[in-house]
């Protein structure tokens, strides 16, 4: 299923303007070698989909600092002052999404659903432009699915079929983002033979994974 490729081969598939999901929470669980390679490639006008813009020198934030992001769909930018600066100066568009809504929109994108209904954001600015739908007397917002052209995933172990495990808090948005992009790139701490992972232990089935990138 998954093909093992080099970082260069991965970068050759990425073009200006592509939307990119970068997994991780404050850079924990982010495959830094892919982010670094994309900074070096210096493609522009990307839409970033991530929990946050992380830090200026860590995680997805490095792409912001290098001015490669046209629009960020994130829940938080507070740990990256450069993201705040670009936002205030209208150099980068930001769509703020409540974190639970963001990951569930991605889950819908990965799993063939058009969207979902959430009570989060009812009666706030988040509601603007969205349908409010009442179910059994309670109000919800219709939040639509979210997909990306590519996803950057960091696993703990990957077998050669692309089956993945994650470690501790590095799991965060990796599991859901692995399902929701046209091309999923995975960097694993360790690539093992098929059969080396306990089948009960696998968290992301390899069917979602396109490439294992060797650093």
């Amino acid at each position: 299923m998954a093909k093992i490729i080099s970082i260069k081969e991965a970068m050759d598939m990425i073009q200006d303007g592509m939307s990119i999901m970068i997994a991780g929470f404050l850079a924990v669980g982010t495959p830094e070698i892919l982010v670094d390679a994309l900074v070096e490639k210096n493609t522009k006008n990307h839409t970033l989909i991530a929990i946050s813009t992380a830090y200026p020198n860590k995680g997805s934030g490095k792409l912001v600092v290098n001015k490669q992001i046209k629009k960020a769909i994130v829940s938080h930018i507070g740990t990256n002052p450069e993201a705040g600066r670009q936002y205030i100066n209208n150099e980068m568009e930001i769509e703020f999404v409540p974190q639970g809504t963001l990951v569930e929109r991605i889950r819908c994108g990965g799993f063939g659903m058009g969207g979902f209904l959430t009570p989060t954001g009812v009666g706030t600015e988040i509601e603007e432009g969205k349908q409010r739908i009442s179910v059994d007397g309670k109000d919800y917002l219709l939040e639509k699915h979210l997909r990306a052209d590519i996803a950057f995933i960091r696993a703990h172990k990957a077998d050669k079929n692309g089956n993945l495990t994650y470690r501790k808090a590095a799991r965060n948005s990796n599991m859901v983002m692995a399902t929701a992009a046209d091309i999923t790139f995975v960097v694993a701490d360790e690539i093992v033979e098929v059969g080396d992972l306990d089948q009960d232990e696998i968290m992301t089935p390899g069917i979602f994974v396109d490439y294992l990138v060797q650093g």
């Binding site: 829940s75 930018i77 740990t79 999404v97 639970g100």
Partner: protein, 216 residues
């Protein structure tokens, strides 16, 4: 005792043995230092685990184990890691007994504003909107006023985080609870009068017939 410590100590009294809670950064997290012996509270961290605590030794340090503030932490025995969708399923699903958060403004209808001041750099929403909508009880822990400006209002004037979700407000001067849609003053700090609270509070409130003195 400074204001932060007063508030944190009073917040800690709200925790019951067996509670699952999610705490915001600052005063809410500080409250864990004052949880009474014998009360076991499990802390949930929205990045994907519960039952965490601070590092206890050098060997605990693990770059893959952080809390939602980005600090290294230890997830203790009995704790569990999960992905972001499960973490927010726990939050929205109503499995957390309490969430304690700070606020810029709260009003008498239980509305809360803590994410955006128009014209300033917005740090973002993070998990805050989901937490206040999902947790069984929402406790706002904050100083009563901000540089003289009132924070407990008739109506919030900045963008809301959620509507009608606040159950309790704990400040260094008073404790309010929302009952039947209105604010009720339940406790005052020793030496603080109801009249002083009225001067520092724009919101309408009633005074509980069993008004107590904060015991901290």
């Amino acid at each position: 005792m400074n204001n932060r410590e007063i508030i944190a100590r009073r917040v800690a009294q709200e925790f019951k043995d067996g509670d699952f809670v999610n705490l915001g950064i600052g005063i809410p997290t500080l409250s864990t230092a004052y949880i009474p012996d014998g009360v076991n509270v499990t802390l949930h961290s929205e990045n994907g685990h519960y039952n965490f605590g601070p590092l206890t030794c050098e060997e605990d340090k693990d770059p893959d184990s952080i809390n939602a503030s980005g600090e290294l932490c230890v997830v203790r025995n009995g704790g569990v890691f999960f992905d972001s969708t499960v973490s927010f399923g726990i939050i929205r699903g109503g499995y957390l007994d309490k969430t304690v958060l700070g606020a810029l403004q709260v009003d008498q209808e239980g509305n809360l504003a803590n994410w955006k001041i128009p014209g300033r750099v917005v740090p973002g929403i993070g998990g805050g909107m989901d937490l206040v909508v999902g947790a069984k009880k929402v406790i706002i822990a904050m100083e009563h006023t901000a540089k003289g400006d009132k924070k407990i209002l008739k109506k919030c004037t900045i963008p809301l985080t959620a509507t009608g979700e606040v159950d309790m407000i704990i400040t260094e001067k008073a404790v309010f609870e929302r009952e039947n849609g209105g604010l009720v003053l339940k406790e005052t700090y020793p030496g603080v009068t109801v009249e002083e609270i009225r001067e520092l509070t724009e919101a309408d409130f009633t005074v509980d017939e069993n008004l107590k003195t904060m015991n901290i």
